[in-house]
Subunit: 196 residues, 2 copies
Amino acid sequence: MPKARLTPASVTEAAAALVDEVGFDNLSMGLLAERLGIKTPSLYKHVASQADLAHRIAILGMTQAGDVLRDAIQGRSGSAALAAGAQAMRTFVREHPGRYAASNAARPTGPDDPFIPASERVLASWAAMLGGYDLDPGQVIHAMRTLRSVLHGFATLEVAGGFQIDASVDESFDWLVSFIDQGLRAGAAGGSDLAS
Amino acid sequence: MPKARLTPASVTEAAAALVDEVGFDNLSMGLLAERLGIKTPSLYKHVASQADLAHRIAILGMTQAGDVLRDAIQGRSGSAALAAGAQAMRTFVREHPGRYAASNAARPTGPDDPFIPASERVLASWAAMLGGYDLDPGQVIHAMRTLRSVLHGFATLEVAGGFQIDASVDESFDWLVSFIDQGLRAGAAGGSDLAS
DNA sequence: GCCTTAAGCTAATCACGTTAGCTTTGGTGG
DNA sequence: CCACCAAAGCTAACGTGATTAGCTTAAGGC
């Protein structure tokens, strides 16, 4: 058999780098093929379709996000872990907007989709981080969803250019993280009267 | 001139209803034309291009979101305004995921793009709502960004099916709103030591 | 040094957005 | 009441991008 210059993995890597540059919705088979020095149809020897390629990028991105997050939280706890984890995620999204977008757009294709464990690893890191706060067990799931929502929302809005430029986005992010930290340290939403 | 069965506005309405059903990225000129009982090229008598159509949907969506938000906050203040506004936005996104997605994807095309005032109306409502809390003036912008981030993130994740089903999403949303409310009432992130 | 098999290529197809140019139609001025 | 004309619709055609079919080639195992 001919030398395997390209593999599904290396094609996915190149595609991930590409979408980080040009944006996830600007991914095209022609552009990727050009990058790899081959013709468009040849890509189909390595990936089944553009949808397949997008899904592979999503898995790669989610896996890398998990790595980055784990490394950031490693050896820290409580406020420090939150701050480090949040910063790490924001950095990851800014450096890899394309694969992050791919990860968000992806849906598991089946029960044994590797995307599922990759996502779970991310969630597990967040859960471990929240363990450093003294939360009521029943509140952990809500805290986790709230945390994901803020970070995901902030990152998305920032990458999309949704914030005006007249005030520092970095400062806002620090403020946000601090806001969440204080809320979590306060034992979270114990006695509110807002529930409908 | 022939009776104007269709107008740019009515076509946009139909397109908005369509994307709410099939998803923003599944919008196609053919599908919309079929809905309207005309052939695809005829659409170009009313909108300039698919990009133009998407932008009109975005303006419509942002305008409607502004209306909904204003109505919800009307006559309330502080915690009640926050709760009502947040619920209203979540409901809007759930009922109109397509036009919400369009609004997020849209970028102003110029200084006199009607999308700009529509967005500003939304921001103004949030700002008015935050006025009910006793925040340091310099913190309002950060609080606003944080608020937008959580709500946007939550709505996005929910619509995308990002939450597992084994815990009530409604409950999580109430918890989230309550969490934010308490943080804002506490005077927000005054003395944290997390800033990098 | 053959022979299989994978990797790449060219040619062709399909779907969709878009443009060009023709046809119809209905409101309006005479 | 009628001719007119601009808007609204249609068919035909084009361009691009994804995908498939089938051919060609080259490298690794025997």
